[in-house]
């Protein structure tokens, strides 16, 4: 059974602070995706990382895939209240179906 552990589970910070969310596994994934989920909604894809060591930037969000493709991180610079939400990492194995194994989630709250 593949598991993806995210840390921290909860994070409450003030506007302007930086933060990093970690996603760790003992399994190797062919790709890793980060999603954001609002209450009562489905996950919305933020980014997909495929290559070990890959770094992708999405405005103030920086995503990194570990060299061994077992872990990933999400770094947010100068957090804003609009960043508040549940962040999920999800790993995909190679193969046609490429089902996703979701992480445990990190709930971020950014206050003024």
């Amino acid at each position: 059974t593949q598991l993806l552990e995210q840390s921290p589970q909860f994070l409450s910070i003030q506007e302007g602070e930086n933060l990093t969310v970690y996603c760790n596994s003992s399994s190797v994934f062919s790709s890793l995706q980060w999603y954001r989920q609002e209450p009562g909604e489905g996950p919305v894809l933020l980014v997909t990382v495929v290559t070990g060591g890959e770094v992708k930037k999405l405005k103030r969000l920086t995503f990194q895939f570990g060299d061994a493709r077992k872990d990933s991180s999400l770094h947010i610079t100068a957090a804003q209240p609009g960043d508040t939400g549940l962040y999920l990492c999800a790993g995909a194995q190679s193969g046609t179906a490429s089902k996703l194994t979701f992480g445990t989630g990190t709930r971020l709250q950014v206050t003024l």
């Binding site: 489905g42 179906a97 490429s98 996703l100 194994t101």
Partner: protein, 112 residues
């Protein structure tokens, strides 16, 4: 932007009744999925569907569950005899090869 549409948004059913959850994936997507999320828990894979057949299913997806793509546009999940523990958010997702998933907004199933 293309969307995955799910209906109904909320379904309440009595234990033992059959329910059908409906999804309209993005039209040119090739892979279709059902996931579920029990309240407070992580998103779990149920089943993947490709080329008009199930390509993978999880242990959760037992004989009480079935999927169909009856007309080339709809993708349904049927639960034959619902149990209390089937109460969850059910998410449909679709994707084109080598791209990230697009999730629907989900159907909240409540079994009473």
């Amino acid at each position: 932007e293309p969307e995955v549409t799910q209906t109904p948004s909320h379904q309440v059913t009595q234990m033992g009744q059959e329910v059908i959850l409906r999804c309209v994936p993005i039209s040119n997507h090739l892979y279709f999925y059902w996931y579920r999320q029990i309240l407070g828990q992580k998103v779990e894979f149920l089943v993947s569907f490709y080329n008009n057949e199930i390509s993978e299913k999880s242990e959760i997806f037992d004989d009480q569950f079935s999927v169909e793509r009856p007309d080339g546009s709809n993708f349904t999940l049927k639960i034959r005899s619902t149990k209390l523990e089937d109460s969850a958010m059910y998410f449909c997702a679709s994707r084109l090869a080598n791209y990230g998933y697009t999730f629907g907004s989900g159907t909240r199933l409540t079994v009473v």
